[in-house]
């Protein structure tokens, strides 16, 4: 395959036969983030089996999530959905006393057309615990999009009255309130909030907050900005239903992304950012030891978590060549600024524009990987070991969703992940055996 220098990003769409996590996996990080929540996944043994295996050890820490496991009687409508859900939710209330119960709809509830949205308000009134419904199913969504469905549902629950306003010490408020959306670990929330504070931008709230009872006030005319690339439904909901204005920016992943994100927010709020250039340069300088390892190397994203474009843009800026960006779903509007930055970065670094492959076909991708022999493949666990056995360096993509990768502070963590296989395999390759499969 010859490499053709192209001056525009190319978009392709394949068969959608690819491996990714089921979107219900979002409960594993959201229940930890929202401390007073309980997540009830209404599905079958298959859903339960996935959660229990994918979440590994976490399952034993008495998680605030459970399956409402559907039985034959539920499927054939012999049992009454309302009655069944009431029984389970009363028990959850008694055992855990959560401030909110999330119902996660699955493929099965879609197919049997269980009216979760219809049942929830009635049941909520009866047991007096808020019930938020999100349809995070594998028929419509991939992996991280699960969080998007939950946050979109939560966006409707954010208070809009001025009640809780008085307590906030916003004397210095000089701009229209800004609410950020996307679930991040608390330390990263603090870090990003502080970065903005340095520029005189105050963050009025985050969706989600640490507790359901602390959801931010959202009023018509507020600004909102996303911190993750997979939150397009949430963005749409905030704009259309809550009448807020979206600041479309690249995502704060990598020092380049973080700077562009802050700059865009500042420019919308008519603030001139100070010292950002130095801040970015300092971070790049501190990354040099890692960048030296990947400069001039190539990378192939098989695609499974929607972080791919942002990561590819950052790695391009680090001097890598990106062959292919596989991605489950590409919202060109929500990701517009990120795509523009990717294009600009490719031009600036003078490397070929990668192909963006939506709904990829893993079989075809493995074929292309054989031809291209990239230095690094970022992929799911189903393909990682077989590729390693064929002498190809891989990084498990799911780690990017669980590691702290946002803001200036965590740029190093991204490179720590990206370079790990290269650093490890460097020492192994001296031993002289690179291929471990008799099939290849």
């Amino acid at each position: 395959m010859s490499i053709v220098q192209s001056d525009a990003l190319t978009f392709e769409c394949e068969t959608g036969n690819y491996h990714t996590f089921c979107p219900i996996s979002c409960v594993s990080w959201l229940y930890q983030k929202i401390e007073d929540s309980f997540f009830l996944v209404i599905g079958t043994k298959t859903c339960g089996y996935f959660l229990q295996n994918a979440m590994g050890v976490m399952i034993f820490a008495e998680p605030r999530y459970a399956m409402a496991e559907l039985e034959e009687g539920d499927i054939s409508a012999k049992l009454n959905d309302y009655g069944e859900l009431l029984r389970l939710c009363v028990q959850i209330k008694k055992d855990r006393n959560p401030s909110v119960i999330f119902w996660i709809g699955t493929c099965t509830t879609e197919i049997i057309k269980m009216d979760l949205e219809g049942i929830a308000p009635k049941l909520e009134a009866e047991i007096r615990v808020p019930i938020v419904v999100a349809r995070a199913n594998g028929l419509d969504y991939a992996f991280t999009q699960g969080e998007d469905t939950v946050l979109a549902a939560m966006a409707q629950r954010c208070p809009s009255n001025l009640h809780s306003y008085s307590s906030s010490n916003d004397t210095s408020k000089s701009h229209i309130p800004l609410v950020l959306f996307g679930s991040l670990p608390d330390p990263v929330v603090t870090q990003l909030t502080m970065e903005l504070q340095k520029q005189g931008v105050s963050v009025s709230g985050w969706l989600p907050s640490k507790r359901y009872t602390e959801l931010p006030v959202i009023q018509e005319g507020y600004y909102v900005s996303g911190v993750n690339p997979f939150l397009s439904r949430t963005a749409t909901t905030l704009m259309r239903r809550r009448k807020t204005k979206l600041i479309g920016a690249p995502f704060p992943i990598g020092p380049d992304g973080t700077r562009a994100w802050i700059e865009k927010i500042c420019s919308v709020l008519s603030i001139t950012p100070v010292g950002l250039e130095d801040r970015e340069r300092e971070v790049w300088d501190s990354l040099e030891d890692y960048i030296a390892l990947i400069r001039g190397k190539s990378v192939f994203f098989m695609g499974d978590n929607l972080l791919e474009v942002s990561l590819a843009r950052f790695l391009t800026r680090c001097g890598m060549t990106v062959y292919e960006i596989g991605i489950p779903y590409m919202d060109k509007r929500y990701q517009a600024a990120e795509l523009a930055l990717l294009k600009a970065t490719c031009e600036q670094m003078n490397v070929m524009m990668p192909t963006i492959v939506e709904k990829p076909d893993n079989y075809n991708q493995v074929d292309r990987i054989r031809d291209l022999k990239p230095d690094l493949v970022i992929t799911g666990m189903a393909h990682a070991n077989p590729l390693e056995a064929r002498g190809i360096n891989t990084k498990w993509s799911v780690e990017f969703t669980f590691a702290q990768i946002h803001g200036f502070t965590n740029a190093r963590d991204i490179l720590e992940l990206v370079t790990r296989p290269l650093r490890r395999n460097l020492s192994l390759s001296e031993l002289g055996w690179d291929v471990y499969s008799k099939q290849s």
Partner: protein
């Protein structure tokens, strides 16, 4: 609806996939929504498989819901036929696809017209059977399909091997210590001078199945997988089978004697008594170990056992018969096999528990307060919470239960492994108690004195709170690094800013 946090046995399609992917050149196509191909991750992670798992999904999405999936499924089957040239493609329904009630059998017939490969639809009901039952059924289905096919074109091999020979049925991927067990069985049969005709399904080729009948008998080591196949082969081809699990000294002897009886009936004239005696007293260590004074200390200690039928029953017997341990109760999550299980263990424990509710099992353990637990990974975690040691003896398991080193549970080497497992679980428990009685090791305090630098660095309240959010096992390191960083740039107060700056500047 059932409120469930955890389950012992997986959904049916996992069982089917375990069988399909164990054979050589068999490809499974799951009729499933995006994300249901988690099986591939498990194969790749737990078994550390070097090759791509021969399982693909024919993805059910919105379009499929609207239009039906016939074209897509048929196309995916013939595509795999072209790409991988398998001998057999198994279309695997999932819980989602089974409620769509599409005529999958029809898709299979349609597809098989154009494919080189045979095509089968796995015959399992998702709402009635679990992983284990489904794997038993799928194996039987495949064997039946190929045997009936061979019958039709008269290619069933009818001549028996000259020397006594056996088929081992039940070598399956993702089974608990299965690979090691199979190696141990091979060794055992070699010692007994019995040829191994075929081992199925792991690494077997469906083309060879017609030669299954040249073995003198079948051997089914595990209760859960393979029995249906053995019964089919007995009924259709008059092949006898042995299904005694050779786990533990007594059971292994029983198993060998039963093989001896069977072979002698077939006029082989074998006598294994000397072999059994030699192995028991001098080669395997565990019989002697039971007699040694170490093991004396275990007499009457209280234990509980929980797992799949095969392992829970065998371990209960070993604890009671061979080590003199008091089994307060033993149980299984294989509810469908209750009768067999009760009959197996009744006389070796006080009470039999049949349940797949881990909450109930946890409560029972807490109430019983045994000195050791022998169970699955779930019981190990229950034990952790209650401070009771646990030896893992059965699926469901984690990656640490797929050891690289040789760890069979079956045969004579298996008895050694089990003896170690049991003994180590108990000693740790004793040590714990001794420590408690004497107030524990007193080194913790002594150690921490010298290490923390007692200088004048203070933490702001915010920073201290942030520090508590860092997971315990790295917190100390972060604290030390941050303080060192602060000292280096002569700061006396650690604020949030200093903390993050430190993180950025210090390359770990």
């Amino acid at each position: 609806m059932k409120l469930a946090y955890w389950m012992y046995a997986g959904p049916a399609h996992i069982g089917t996939l375990r069988i399909a992917s164990s054979f050589k050149k068999v490809h499974a196509i799951m009729h499933a929504p995006l994300g249901d191909d988690y099986f591939n991750v498990m194969r790749s992670m737990l078994e550390r498989d070097r090759d791509f798992t021969p399982v693909t999904a024919s993805v059910v999405d919105r379009h499929v819901l609207a239009r039906g999936s016939q074209e897509k499924v048929v196309e995916n089957i013939s595509r795999k036929d072209r790409e991988e040239k398998p001998d057999l493609v198994i279309l695997t329904p999932t819980c989602t696809s089974s409620i769509l009630q599409e005529d999958l059998q029809n898709f299979v017939s349609r597809a098989s017209i154009e494919t080189e490969a045979d095509v089968l639809l796995a015959d399992v009901n998702h709402y009635r059977v679990n992983e284990l039952q489904a794997s038993d059924r799928t194996l039987e289905q495949i064997i039946t399909f190929y045997m009936e096919k061979a019958k039709l074109n008269n290619s069933v091999v009818t001549t028996k091997t000259v020397k006594p020979s056996v088929n081992i049925i039940g070598a399956v991927s993702l089974g608990f210590h299965n690979q090691h067990d199979i190696s141990e069985l091979k060794r055992l049969f070699q010692d007994l001078d019995i040829e191994i005709n075929q081992i199925i399904p792991e690494n077997a080729s469906v083309q060879d199945l017609k030669k299954l009948t040249s073995a003198w008998f079948n051997f089914v080591p595990y209760r859960e997988i393979g029995l249906m196949t053995a019964q089919y082969l007995e009924k259709s081809f008059g092949m006898p089978y042995v299904d005694i699990t050779p786990m533990g000294i007594v059971q292994t002897a029983e198993c060998i004697r039963s093989i001896q009886k069977l072979l002698n009936k077939l006029e082989a004239q074998v006598d294994y008594e000397k072999y059994i005696d030699e192995q028991t007293r001098f080669i395997s260590q565990s019989a002697w170990f039971s007699r040694s004074i170490d093991c004396q200390n275990l007499t009457g200690k209280k234990a509980i056992v929980f797992g799949d039928s095969t392992h829970a029953a065998a371990i209960t017997r070993i604890l009671h018969q061979e080590m003199g341990i008091h089994v307060a109760w033993c149980g299984t999550y294989c509810k469908y096999d209750e009768e067999w299980f009760k009959e197996q263990v009744q006389e070796f424990c006080d009470e039999v528990i049949i349940s797949d509710d881990h909450g109930l099992i946890g409560d029972l353990i807490a109430r019983t307060e045994p000195a050791a637990i022998f169970g699955t990974q779930m019981e190990r975690h229950i034990g952790k919470r209650l401070n009771i040691p646990c030896g893992v003896i059965s699926s469901p398991v984690h990656i640490q239960n797929f050891p690289l080193s040789y760890r069979p549970f079956l045969g004579y080497e298996g008895t050694n492994q089990i003896a170690d497992l049991v003994y180590n679980s108990f000693t740790l428990g004793m040590e714990d108690h001794l420590l408690e009685i004497f107030g524990g090791h007193d080194t913790t305090e002594a150690l921490s004195v010298g290490i923390s630098a007692n200088d004048s660095i203070n933490w702001s309240q915010e920073a201290e709170r942030e520090l508590t959010k860092i997971p315990g096992f790295v917190r100390g390191k972060v604290k030390r690094n941050t303080e060192k960083f602060a000292r280096d740039c002569s700061k006396t107060l650690i604020t949030l800013e200093v903390m993050y700056e430190a993180k950025e500047k210090i390359s770990s």
